[in-house]
């Protein structure tokens, strides 16, 4: 039996308010799953379980203020404590309050979920097609894709805990739930192709093959980081490995990727550049100018919009009145396609088509991938703007579970191999954390380095 203690979360005070419990006594939880919603002097966030097991006892009612260090719940093996407690009544009251503030949005979100469900019933690739793509990719690469997806998921889960434990500096925007997008697209690329990412770049970097050690060290701000500690979470990248340091201004990478493709075209190099961005970026001027010019010059680029339905907390339904982001391509006379961002094979197939199309000199594609963020927008976002139903629907389409079950069903892997793969990934992440934590810090005066090529920074 383990005591769950309230960690030090506030910046100026010890006091933390438990807004509501997200688990009940007797419920199974896994490490990293949310236990309750808490509010500090600065933020509202979800408190996650540091342990897996059964919730044996909840010591504190919802809407109660406790101090850091207070034992708020007990976790252990089922049956360790006999008595079971009734569900807090206040829990329901709090739910009610939240529903009132969200009523207007709830309807449109559920609608979004339904529409997307319908869409995939129409366009989903069938079992025969899946087998065909799997055969085309081959066993080893298919397993490699699963490994990359698990790497991304576990990397994000690990750093979230490190962050909550106060061991990691800065902020982070996580990629949990969207793994199939990055991995499917990057699988379709050649070594000399180049990708560009956003403020949410960890997944793209891992999928592109930037060594995890260098990514982790960058998050720690160390000299061994892929940007030598100058970039941080939002600027992960290494052009020598095929990824521009991520551009964290929404939409900012779109014209740059067009320009990279223009360079390939002017030099007649058979290379393709990829821009990853979200649904929110499609409302930026840079999207419009970037795509319009890409089609004018017919540059070898693919614009991959990962439509996770939310720009931070705002539903895309509130910020765009087109059914699909891909529909916007017709404004530029550009080829477009829509893929299932939770199905890595569907993503791969559509990305491969777009990349081949570009490489042959036929011009760019706007490829929309319908996906979902199974985590907050940034480090401490409890995603209260999403409905439970919506989250459940997308969780049931978890891209890793989908692909893992497919590989099991197709006999490409067995349970033991999957377990070993997960262990292998754990080992990679353990080593990366160790590398990140033990690498040397930069010197303060390294601040002056790396700005100009041909001169020192004037002081």
């Amino acid at each position: 039996m383990i005591e769950i203690k309230m960690p030090q979360l506030g910046q100026t005070t010890d006091e933390v308010r438990i807004v509501r419990w997200l688990v009940k006594e007797g419920q199974e939880v896994k490490r990293g799953e949310p236990l309750c919603e808490v509010e500090t002097d600065k933020v509202t966030m979800e408190l996650e379980s540091f342990e897996s097991g059964t919730i044996l006892k909840i010591n504190v009612e919802s809407d109660t203020v406790v101090n850091s260090g207070a034992v708020i719940a007990l976790i252990g093996k089922a049956g360790e404590i006999k008595e079971s407690k009734k569900v807090e009544k206040k829990d329901e009251v709090v739910h009610g309050k939240i529903e009132i503030t969200e009523t207007a949005l709830t309807e449109s979100m559920q609608e979004t979920g339904r529409e997307i469900q319908d869409k995939f019933e129409n366009t989903e690739i069938n079992a025969a097609e899946r087998k065909k793509i799997l055969a085309e990719i081959g066993k080893d690469k298919a397993i490699g894709m699963l490994q990359r997806m698990i790497e991304i998921r576990e990397f994000e889960e690990r750093i979230r805990l490190l962050f909550l434990e106060g061991k990691m500096p800065g902020t982070m925007h996580q990629y949990i739930g969207q793994e199939a997008c990055a991995v499917g697209v990057c699988q379709a690329l050649e070594k000399d192709d180049v990708i560009a990412s956003t403020h949410r770049p960890h997944g793209h970097a891992i999928a592109r093959g930037i060594p995890m050690d260098a990514i982790m060290a960058e998050l720690y701000g160390k000299t061994t980081g892929c940007c030598r500690g100058k970039g941080g979470s939002m600027h992960i990248g290494d052009l020598s490995k095929g990824m521009l340091p991520a551009i964290a201004i929404v939409g900012g990478n779109i014209p740059i990727v067009g320009g990279m493709a223009l360079a390939f075209k002017l030099r007649k190099e058979p290379r393709v550049s990829i821009s990853f961005f979200g649904d929110g970026a499609s409302n930026e001027g840079a999207f419009h100018e970037g795509l319009n010019m890409a089609q004018i010059y017919k540059v070898p680029a693919v614009f991959v919009c990962e439509n996770n339905l939310y720009g931070a907390s705002t539903s895309i339904k509130l910020t765009a009145k087109v059914e699909n982001i891909a529909d916007r391509a017709c404004a530029y006379g550009m080829r477009s396609d829509i893929g299932d961002g939770m199905d890595v094979l569907d993503v791969y197939k559509r990305a491969k088509n777009a990349v081949d199309f570009a490489r042959k000199g036929n011009g760019p594609t706007l490829l929309e991938l319908k996906t979902f963020r199974l985590c907050g927008h940034s480090r401490r976002d409890p995603s209260n703007y999403m409905t439970k139903e919506e989250r459940q629907y997308w969780k049931s389409r978890d891209p890793i579970i989908l692909f893992e079950s497919l590989l099991l069903d197709e006999g490409i892997m067995d349970d033991k191999e999957v377990l070993n793969l997960r262990k292998k990934v754990d080992g990679i992440i353990d080593r990366a954390v160790e590398f990140g934590q033990t690498s040397p810090d930069p010197k303060p005066e390294d601040t002056y380095k790396g700005l100009y090529v041909s001169m020192e920074v004037p002081r």
Partner: protein
């Protein structure tokens, strides 16, 4: 061969495109046969020799600078042209967040060798096509900022900028271009030079003494440099001997040249066509004050535009731009303190 700045830049760009196949031009109306050759004729006719490397764009400044940035990162050497410097604000994210910072954010691994050309100057167009933007960009680490006042320097700085591995923003003055035909500007000042046949550059970060003198140092660039020379002539008739320094590069500043001159004269006057608040004078003056306070015989002084946008009415516009007479009268008071 005597060339205006517009002709000189055209020659320099032609030379660079002929020398290096990675150099290309990107901008609005720059290479349309029968068109303008950019807003002030600088790229006129270049499409005849370099059709594939004159990239005419839609009216999309984010696109121009974003595409230039992406191409530069991949090893090209774009010369990005904005019709009026004022439009840089449309592309500010690409210039200030992407182009200026990408190398730094990469930990010094990337290069972003872009030349950005932007016409400036208060010239009968009201507030949105006629302003001097230098102050905004000298406070943007990662960029280099140059401002040629003569055709000789325009060639040398353009070539240096194209060959430089860092992003360089070049401000050009509408009244100094010497553009001909329908693009001719009222109130133009002759900035033409003899351009030697042989290849040369003007090093970025090196200023020049345009006129030697012992009583006061005037620091001024672009049109203000020419007006300062005129002011120095007015003062010379009254026995006041001014030294005029043209920094040519606004960032990094050739501060040693300026300090050396002020040590000699004991008086520093910075003349600028942009608003006084937070301008070039504030920066240059402060560097003088920090470094050589003991040499000053009079307060460091700025002659600048009012802290307003540029007005349209010719009466107000003339008041807005520091005129040679105004510069002279300020210096006269300073010397007679």
């Amino acid at each position: 061969m005597r060339l205006s700045i517009a002709e000189a830049l055209r020659k320099a760009i032609h030379d660079e495109m002929a020398r290096d196949p990675n150099v290309f031009c990107i901008g609005e109306d720059i290479g349309i046969p029968g068109g303008f050759g950019g807003a002030f004729t600088v790229t006129l006719g270049l499409e005849k020799d370099f059709r594939d490397r004159m990239i005419d764009t839609p009216i999309s400044e984010i696109g121009i600078f974003g595409y230039a940035c992406g191409a530069a990162v991949m090893g090209m050497r774009p010369i990005a042209d904005v019709q009026y410097g004022d439009f840089l604000f449309c592309a500010m994210d690409q210039v200030a967040n992407e182009i200026a910072k990408l190398r730094y954010m990469s930990g010094g691994k990337l290069k972003v060798p872009i030349v950005m050309r932007a016409p400036v100057g208060v010239t009968g167009r009201g507030s949105q096509h006629a302003q001097n933007l230098e102050p905004y960009f000298i406070s943007c680490p990662g960029l280099k900022v140059v401002a040629p006042a003569t055709a000789y320097d325009a060639v040398g700085l353009l070539k240096a900028a194209v060959r430089d591995d860092d992003p360089v923003l070049m401000f050009e003055h509408k009244l100094l271009y010497g553009s001909k035909g329908p693009r001719q500007e009222t109130g133009s000042v002759d900035a033409s030079s003899e351009i030697p046949d042989e290849d040369y550059i003007v090093p970025i970060g090196k200023g020049i003494i345009r006129r030697e003198g012992k009583d006061a140092t005037i620091v001024a660039s672009l049109l203000m440099m020419h007006f300062s020379l005129q002011a120095a002539e007015i003062l010379a008739k009254e026995g006041i001997d001014c030294e005029v320094i043209d920094p040519r590069t606004l960032w990094p500043l050739d501060i040693d040249l300026i300090l050396g001159s002020v040590k000699k004269t004991g008086r520093a006057v910075i003349v600028e066509e942009s608003p006084k608040q937070g301008g070039l004078g504030a920066e240059i003056g402060m560097q003088i004050a920090e470094n050589i306070p003991d040499y000053l015989l009079a307060p460091i002084t700025r002659v600048a535009a009012p802290n307003t946008p540029a007005p349209f009415s010719p009466v107000m516009e003339k008041f807005y731009i520091p005129q040679p007479e105004r510069i002279a009268s300020v210096i006269k008071k300073l010397v007679n303190l």
